[in-house]
């Protein structure tokens, strides 16, 4: 009985916290979910001003397109971002890390492979490969 009450309370509190933190929104692909945290305001605003605004949302560039890699990336990024934002222990300005840079690069090609097929041979995600965004920096988040 006592056990049930104890875990019921904790469970309820956890459920409330999850809802209050708009936990369900993270299961969606709505760009607004990415700006739940104020830290992403600049990125959200600059995407709205960038040329890809009409063509792609956050997750279309920043998450893999296949089911399992997509949800695994959500788990990894979800954990990393929650931890960083809760503990406020990340360096600024925020930069994309190697894992996510690779995902991003693959997504450039997912849409634009045909047009660059004559330019790009072999891997574009090797450590010393030139990424699309090296030159096309402004496409996602506008010019800087």
């Amino acid at each position: 009985m006592v056990t049930a009450i104890a875990f019921g309370l904790v469970g309820g509190l956890a459920a409330f916290t999850f809802r209050y933190a708009e936990g369900l929104s993270y299961l969606s692909s709505d760009p607004k979910a990415c700006v739940n945290c104020h830290i992403m305001r600049d990125e959200y605003a600059s995407w709205q001003h960038g040329p890809h605004h009409a063509a792609a949302t956050c997750v279309q560039c920043h998450l893999p397109h296949a089911f399992v890699p997509k949800w695994w990336a959500k788990v990894v990024n979800g954990w990393n971002h929650s931890k960083a934002f809760t503990l406020q222990d990340f360096p600024e300005p925020i930069r994309i890390g190697p894992r996510n840079a690779r995902i991003l690069q693959e997504n450039c090609l997912a849409c634009h492979a045909e047009i660059v097929s004559e330019l790009v041979h072999g891997s574009t995600t090797d450590e010393d490969a030139v990424l699309c965004v090296h030159c096309h920096r402004g496409v996602g988040h506008g010019a800087r």
Binding site: V2, T86, P93
Partner: protein, 474 residues
């Protein structure tokens, strides 16, 4: 067995309670953290006191805007980079550039000319310098060394422009001691909030009469009639104009010492020079001079920290990057984006100042800047050497009895050479604000300096050669 059962279950129950308590504590801590982050996201400030156009004391503004005020106060902290800043008594520039003493012979800058400190010290350091304590200076100096507009308004009986002209014409000490009707000092603070922010809307605005008149003349030259920065400038332009109110080349016009920005022909070094050379710009109909050089007798110009002009010729200005973008970069405090009012060298804050746009390591960025500045420094020293030899030649010729007519050409060239050298030496970025422009100016300085030297040498050789070549040419 029966009597033992309850005894065995107690530890298990206590364990469960502890686990549940820890879990509850953890979830609650997370909940509170989320609430805190959500609260941060609601941007707000609390207006506790009223500020108006006469509130020059930044502490009063600081009650309403503590974040900005806190960082503003840090301009009092000691900061130093390779080529500027310093502690209580910064280095004499002449220690680093011995030729400065020669260049400024006969002028107050040869007395005392130190590296600059933070904004907090602008009024104090001005009062202390031997240029002010040992030479008479006008109230004009306070145009940029104090939060002065209320004093202008008071003296001009409501008319800031009129008050500005009156205060410029006063003696420095007299203007510094100005008091209002109730005996409260009017000139008591270094640059303050009200100098750049409208007290009602907090919008950026410019207040310095010298800048307002100067930028209007510049825009008229560019084909824009009746320009008013407070009405016509974009927000991004204002983020440079507020700094350009003071970090510019200027001169004191006429007997009334009215602070004037020589921008009628443009902002480039030769455009400003053309303005000074054109006699019709001045009441006496003669080209302007700051002083007569003690060694050579040349009427020469002094450049004063033309940061705004130099920046305007560089790649950052061309790319739309404002002064404040690098010198007052945004910092995040909770969810608030605050521009850092600790105005200082971006080299002391590369992370915020540079890396927002340039995604490279600290070492790489510091290295790039060091390369630009070291090259500028080398070229500046070389130009200083060239001009020292120019002065040696002029001085020797004068001592040997060369006439004013004979020296006229060399003196004209000295004026050009010295103006260019000083335009770079007085500018606070060691070339970084516009590297190629800086090198171009120094190249011209060296050329004019050597031309002046050649002109003098020709006099000497001409004298010696005269008997051999009689009346070949006029």
């Amino acid at each position: 067995m029966e009597p033992n059962a309850p005894r065995r279950r107690w530890p298990a129950l206590v364990g469960v309670a502890i686990v549940a308590a820890l879990a509850a504590a953890g979830v609650t801590a997370l909940l509170v953290n989320i609430i805190q982050r959500k609260t941060e996201a609601k941007q707000q400030f609390v207006k506790l006191v009223e500020v108006d156009e006469n509130t020059v004391d930044p502490k009063v503004w600081g009650t309403n805007w503590p974040r900005e005020y806190d960082s503003y106060l840090k301009t009092a902290e000691t900061s130093r980079t390779n080529f500027g800043g310093g502690d209580a008594s910064p280095e004499q520039k002449a220690d680093r550039f011995p030729w400065l003493t020669r260049i400024f012979a006969g002028y107050a800058f040869s007395l005392d000319y130190r590296d600059r400190r933070g904004h907090a010290y602008m009024l104090l350091d001005q009062e202390k310098t031997r240029r002010v304590t040992e030479r008479p200076q006008p109230g004009a100096c306070l145009h940029c060394h104090a939060s002065i507009i209320p004093a202008y308004r008071y003296v001009g009986k409501g008319d800031v422009m009129k008050g500005f002209e009156e205060v410029c014409a006063m003696k420095y000490q007299e203007a510094r001691a100005l008091k209002d009707a109730s005996g409260k000092p009017l000139v008591d603070h270094p640059v303050s909030c009200v100098d750049c922010h409208d007290s009602k809307t907090l919008e950026l605005r410019v207040t310095r009469p010298g800048f307002i008149v100067g930028i209007k003349a510049l825009k008229a030259h560019q084909g824009v009639a009746d320009y008013d920065p407070n009405r016509d400038a974009t927000r991004q332009e204002m983020r440079s104009y507020v700094c350009g109110q003071c970090h510019v080349e200027y001169y004191f016009r006429g007997d009334r010492k009215t602070v004037t920005y020589p921008w009628k022909n443009g902002l480039k070094v030769e455009e400003i020079e053309a303005y000074y050379d054109e006699g019709s710009n001045f009441a006496d109909g003669k080209p302007f001079k700051d002083w007569v050089h003690a060694e050579s007798g040349a009427p020469v110009l002094k450049a004063q920290h033309p940061e705004f002009e130099t920046w305007s010729q560089g790649i950052h200005a061309r790319s739309g990057v404002a002064c404040a973008d690098c010198h007052m970069p945004y910092v995040r405090e909770g969810a608030l984006k605050v521009s850092d009012h600790w105005i200082r060298s971006p080299l002391l804050n590369v992370n915020r100042a540079c890396q927002g746009c340039h995604p490279y390591s600290d070492a790489e960025i510091q290295g790039r800047v060091a390369q630009i500045q070291d090259r500028s420094y080398q070229l500046l020293q070389r130009a200083g050497g060239a001009l020292t030899e120019m002065l040696d030649a002029l001085k020797a010729a004068k001592a040997a009895g060369a006439t004013d007519a004979q020296l006229a050409q060399a003196r004209g060239l000295q004026r050009k050479a010295q103006w260019r050298l000083d335009f770079v030496a007085a500018e606070n970025s060691m070339g970084f604000h516009a590297p190629q422009e800086t090198a171009r100016i120094l190249g011209e300085a060296i050329d004019y300096g050597r031309q002046a030297q050649l002109s003098v040498e020709k006099l000497r050789l001409g004298e010696a050669a005269k008997p051999a070549e009689p009346a070949q040419k006029k």
